[in-house]
C-alpha cells in the first residue's frame, strides 16, 4: 500500500514542479539555517571535559582590600602566588593544579627554522591527571621535578610535528624562551572547548603547544600572559610577582563527592579565617567553590549573539513551514475531485490521510537532504569567519541525526493539518460540484 501511495505522491508532485520545488526549497532553507546556528551553539556551549566536568571545581577566595572597583561584587577567579601555593601544598583535594599561561618564543634546536611564538602553560605537576589530558607518548613530570625546577617539557603533537617532522620528540631538546628543555612527553590532540581553565587566554583558545613546570618558568622569568588584577601596592615587576598583591594564577581542584565538596569548602573558609586573623586578608569574606559548568555560565562564555542567531533561525524555519503548510493545503484542497473519486470508490478517510501524509513526508525528506547540504555549505562559510569559535563549527553525528529528525518531524507535522483537511472532504459533494 505504501508503495502505491509513494507512486501517487511522486506523480502528484511531478504535476506541479515549480510548486514542489518551492516547498522543498523553503523547508531546506529553514532547516539549513537552523542547523548551522544550532551546530555553532552546540559546539561552543559544550562540556569541555565530558567525563569529568562534574567533579572539577574552582576554589575562590578574596584577598583584596577595598581599593579595587570590583571588590564588592564578583569573587576573584584567580589566586595570588602565596595563596595558590598554600592551597596546593595543603593538598586537600583529590587532585589539584596551580597554573599560568604565557606566550613563549620557541627556537628549534636543529635546522634553520625561524624562532616563532607559541602558547605555553606553566603548571604544577597535577595538571594532566586533573584534566585527564591524553598522552601520545611519554608522561608528565613529578613533584620532585616541580621542586627541583627541572628543565623538562611536555609538548603538543602539533609542535612535535612542526619541530621534529614526525620523529619522536621524547628525549629531544627544545629551547623555550631561551631555556633548553628536555621533552618528556607528547600530548595527543587535546582541545577543551571552551578553554575553561584560563578564559583570559581567549574563551575558545586552543590547547597550548608547550607545558612546563611553573617553578621552572618562574625561575627563568618566562613571559606571563592572561589576566592580572592588582590592588593596594600591587607591583607587576617581574621578579617581585611572588610577593605582589595581585591575583594572576589559576587554581583548580577535583572533588568527587558532595561530602568532599563540603569538606573542601570548610577547609577554604578555615584558610580565609586564618589569613584574616593573621592580618594578611583585610576582609573576612567567605570562600566559594564554583563548579566548572557553573563557572562557564557565570562568565557568559557563550556569546549572546549566538542565542540571537538560533532564535532568528527558528523564526525563519517557522516562516518556511507556514509557507509550506499553506501551499500544501491549497494543493491538497484543489484535488477535491481526485479525492472525491477515490473516496466514492471506497477509499477510507484513513487511506486518503495516509496518502497525503506520504506526499508531505517526501517533501520533508527532500527538504531535509537539501537542508543538510545547505547546512554543510553554511558551516563552511562560518569557518571562514575570524571568531575563535567559528573554526570549531563542524557537524557531528548527533547534529546530523538531529537535522534529519527535525526536518522530517517538522514537515510531517506541517503535513498533518492539510492531510487531515483533505481526508475530511465529503465524497458526494465534491463529485457533484464539479
Amino acid at each position: 500500500m505504501f508503495a502505491y501511495y509513494l507512486e501517487l505522491a511522486v506523480r502528484s508532485l511531478k504535476r506541479s514542479r515549480a510548486l514542489t520545488a518551492l516547498m522543498i526549497a523553503a523547508v531546506a532553507l529553514g532547516i539549513g539555517t537552523s542547523m548551522v546556528t544550532l551546530t555553532v551553539l552546540h559546539v561552543v556551549s559544550g562540556d569541555p571535559l565530558p567525563e569529568r566536568s562534574g567533579s572539577i571545581y574552582l576554589p575562590r577566595i578574596d584577598p583584596r582590600d577595598d581599593s579595587t572597583a570590583s571588590a564588592s561584587t564578583a569573587m576573584p577567579v584567580q589566586v595570588t602566588w602565596l595563596d595558590g601555593n598554600n592551597l596546593l601544598r595543603a593538598g586537600r583535594a583529590r587532585q589539584q593544579a596551580l597554573m599560568l599561561g604565557g606566550q613563549v618564543a620557541i627556537e628549534p634546536d636543529a635546522g634553520n627554522i625561524e624562532p616563532f611564538i607559541a602558547t605555553a602553560r606553566y603548571t604544577s605537576m597535577g595538571f594532566f591527571d586533573l584534566f585527564d589530558v591524553p598522552f601520545l607518548r611519554g608522561a608528565g613530570w613529578s613533584a620532585a621535578d616541580d621542586e627541583a625546577r627541572a628543565r623538562v617539557a611536555v609538548i603538543s603533537s602539533a609542535l612535535e610535528e612542526r619541530l621534529f617532522h614526525g620523529d619522536n620528540a621524547v628525549g629531544r631538546t627544545v629551547r623555550v624562551g631561551g631555556v633548553p628543555l628536555r621533552v618528556i612527553g607528547v600530548l595527543a590532540p587535546w582541545r577543551p572547548v571552551p578553554h575553561f581553565y584560563d578564559l583570559y587566554m581567549g574563551h575558545f583558545a586552543g590547547g597550548e603547544d608547550v607545558y612546563l613546570p611553573l617553578s621552572t618558568a618562574r625561575a627563568a622569568l618566562l613571559p606571563r600572559g592572561g589576566g592580572i588584577e592588582c590592588w593596594g601596592k600591587g607591583s607587576t615587576t617581574e621578579n617581585l610577582m611572588e610577593t605582589a598583591e595581585c591575583t594572576w594564577l589559576q587554581f583548580w581542584v577535583r572533588l568527587d563527592s558532595a561530602s568532599d565538596v563540603a569538606a573542601y569548602g570548610r577547609f577554604l573558609d578555615g584558610y580565609v579565617h586564618e589569613q584574616f586573623s593573621a592580618g594578611r586578608f583585610r576582609r573576612n569574606r567567605p570562600a566559594e567553590l564554583t563548579g566548572l559548568m557553573a563557572y562557564l555560565d557565570e562568565r557568559h562564555v557563550v556569546p549572546g549573539d549566538l542565542h540571537l542567531q538560533v532564535w532568528l533561525a527558528f523564526g525563519f524555519l517557522l516562516v518556511c513551514l507556514a509557507n509550506t503548510v499553506g501551499l500544501m493545503l491549497a494543493k491538497f484542497m484543489r484535488r477535491g475531485m481526485e479525492i472525491g473519486v477515490r473516496r466514492a470508490l471506497g477509499a477510507s478517510r484513513g487511506s486518503v490521510f495516509a496518502q497525503m501524509l506520504t506526499e508531505a513526508g517526501i517533501i520533508g525528506l527532500a527538504g531535509g537532504l537539501l537542508g543538510l547540504v545547505l547546512a554543510l555549505a553554511g558551516l563552511a562559510l562560518v569557518r571562514t569567519r575570524p571568531d575563535h569559535y567559528a573554526q570549531l563549527a563542524r557537524l557531528d553525528l548527533s547534529m546530523l541525526a538531529t537535522t534529519f529528525v527535525l526536518s522530517i518531524t517538522a514537515t510531517l507535522l506541517a503535513g498533518l493539518f492539510p492531510a487531515w483537511r483533505a481526508s475530511r472532504l465529503p465524497p458526494g459533494l465534491q463529485l457533484k460540484s464539479q
Binding site: T33, A69, G304, N323
Partner: protein, 405 residues
C-alpha cells in the same frame, strides 16, 4: 474605481485555513524582519563608534624578546630612534593600548581619598605622547610636558614617584564632574591625587565592548615598555600607513634579531578585527531577512496562482456578466492587500513582543516607532508585486471559460 470588499471576504471565508496560514506567515515575516533590521542598524551604529584618533595614519607592532633581558629602557629608546628615522614614519612611541585594540588596561579611580566605592574601572592609556601621536584632540587644557613622564618599570619598582597629573576624556569628565569644568579637578588613583591638566575630545577604549562607557578613558604620563605587553605605535605620513608598517617591521627585526614580531597591523586592520563579529552578525541577519522575504513572496505567488486556477470558472462567469479585466485584476490585488493588512497588523504586535524580549535579554533599545509603518509599507508592496503575475493571469481569463466545465 469601486471595489466591494464584502465578496472578497466571503470568498476568503471559504479558504479560512489557507488564508490564515498566509496571514501568519506574513505576520512572522514582518515581526522578524523588523527586529532583525533593527539589530542590524544597531550594530552598524556601534561599528561607526568614533575612536577619537587619526585612524588612517596609525599602525602598530608588537614585539616579544626571545629571552629575558636587562636594560629594557635603552633597548626601547634604540627601537624608537630607529623607527623615527624611517622615511614614511612621522612619529613613533610605545603604548599599552589603542582604541578598539586587542589589549585593554583598566584602573579604578576615586573622586576623593576616602570615597568608599571607587568609580567602576576606567580604561587607562600609558605611553609617551600617546594622544598626540594617535591624533586625539584637546577640548581643554594641555597635553603632558616632557618632564612629567616617568618610566613604567621605575614606577613599578618604586624607584620614582608618579607625577600627579592626568588627562581625561570629555565623556568621563561629563560623568564625574557634571555641569562644571574637569580642568584642575583631582582624581585619586591608588590613593594618589592626580590633577586633570587636559580634557580630550575623544579616545575610545579597548577590550570588552561596553557601549555606555566606550568613550571613558584616562591617560597617565608613563613611558611604556614592550615587557609590559605594550606595542609600538607609529604615525605614518599621509597615505603611507601600510608602507610605514612594512619598513618598521623590517627595521625592528634587523635591529635586534633575537626577538619575534608577534603582531603588526595598520589601524584599519585593528578596527576591522575588533568589529568583525558585529559585521558578521549584521551580514547574517541581512541574508536571512532577504531570504525570508523571498520565501514569503514566492509563497504568495504560489497561493495566488492556486486560487486563480481554482476560480477560473467563477472568473469566467464574472467576465461574462460584465466585469472588466481591470475588475478581475483589482479583485486579486485587493484580496492580497487585505491578507497582507491582517498579517501586518498581527506582525506589529508580534514585532513589539519580540522587541520586548530582546530588550530584556540582550539590552537592546526599544524599537523606534518608524520601523512599523516602514515595515508595513514594504510588506504591502512585496505582496502587491508578488500577486501581480497571478492577478494578470486571472484578468486574462476569457468570459467563455464560464461555459466550460
Amino acid at each position: 474605481m469601486r471595489m466591494d470588499i464584502a465578496p472578497i471576504l466571503a470568498s476568503l471565508g471559504r479558504h479560512k485555513a489557507t488564508a490564515a496560514l498566509l496571514v501568519i506567515q506574513i505576520a512572522l515575516t514582518c515581526a522578524i524582519v523588523c527586529n532583525a533590521l533593527f539589530v542590524v542598524a544597531d550594530r552598524l551604529d556601534w561599528m561607526r563608534t568614533p575612536s577619537g584618533i587619526d585612524e588612517d595614519r596609525i599602525a602598530m607592532l608588537t614585539v616579544t624578546d626571545i629571552e629575558h633581558h636587562d636594560g629594557v629602557q635603552a633597548r626601547n629608546l634604540a627601537d624608537l630612534a630607529a623607527l623615527r628615522e624611517l622615511p614614511d614614519v612621522e612619529a613613533a612611541t610605545t603604548t599599552n593600548s589603542v582604541p578598539f585594540g586587542p589589549l585593554s588596561w583598566q584602573t579604578s579611580v576615586r573622586m576623593s581619598a576616602d570615597q568608599k566605592e571607587p568609580v567602576a574601572s576606567i580604561a587607562q592609556y600609558m605611553g609617551e605622547g600617546v594622544p598626540e601621536l594617535l591624533g586625539a584632540t584637546l577640548a581643554e587644557g594641555r597635553f603632558f610636558r616632557e618632564d612629567e613622564y616617568r618610566w613604567a618599570d621605575d614606577l613599578d619598582a618604586r624607584r620614582t614617584e608618579m607625577i600627579p597629573v592626568l588627562l581625561v576624556t570629555e565623556a568621563l569628565a561629563r560623568r564625574l564632574f557634571p555641569g562644571r569644568s574637569a580642568l584642575g579637578q583631582s582624581l585619586y588613583l591608588g590613593g594618589q591625587a592626580c590633577r586633570i591638566v587636559g580634557v580630550l575630545k575623544g579616545l575610545a577604549r579597548a577590550g570588552d565592548p561596553d557601549r555606555h562607557n566606550v568613550q571613558e578613558a584616562i591617560v597617565s604620563p608613563i613611558r611604556m615598555l614592550p615587557i609590559y605587553g605594550a606595542s609600538y605605535a607609529i604615525r605614518a605620513r599621509p597615505g603611507r600607513a601600510a608602507a610605514a608598517l612594512r619598513e618598521a617591521s623590517e627595521t625592528l627585526r634587523n635591529l635586534q634579531p633575537r626577538r619575534v614580531i608577534t603582531d603588526k597591523k595598520t589601524y584599519a586592520e585593528v578596527r576591522a578585527a575588533y568589529f568583525s563579529s558585529d559585521r558578521a552578525l549584521a551580514g547574517l541577519l541581512i541574508g536571512v531577512c532577504v531570504t525570508m522575504l523571498a520565501v514569503t513572496a514566492l509563497g504568495i505567488v504560489g497561493l495566488a496562482s492556486f486560487w486563480v486556477g481554482q476560480r477560473r470558472r467563477q472568473i469566467g462567469v464574472r467576465r461574462a456578466l460584465g466585469a472588466t479585466r481591470r475588475d478581475v485584476l483589482h479583485y486579486f490585488q485587493v484580496e492580497n492587500f487585505l491578507l497582507a493588512g491582517m498579517g501586518i497588523a498581527l506582525g506589529m504586535v508580534l514585532a513589539y513582543g519580540i522587541n520586548l524580549l530582546l530588550m530584556y535579554q540582550y539590552e537592546l533599545p526599544r524599537l523606534p516607532s518608524y520601523y512599523l509603518p516602514v515595515g508595513a509599507l514594504s510588506l504591502w508592496l512585496l505582496g502587491q508585486v508578488a500577486v501581480l503575475a497571478p492577478a494578470l493571469r486571472a484578468a486574462a481569463v476569457p468570459p467563455v471559460e464560464a461555459t466550460r466545465g
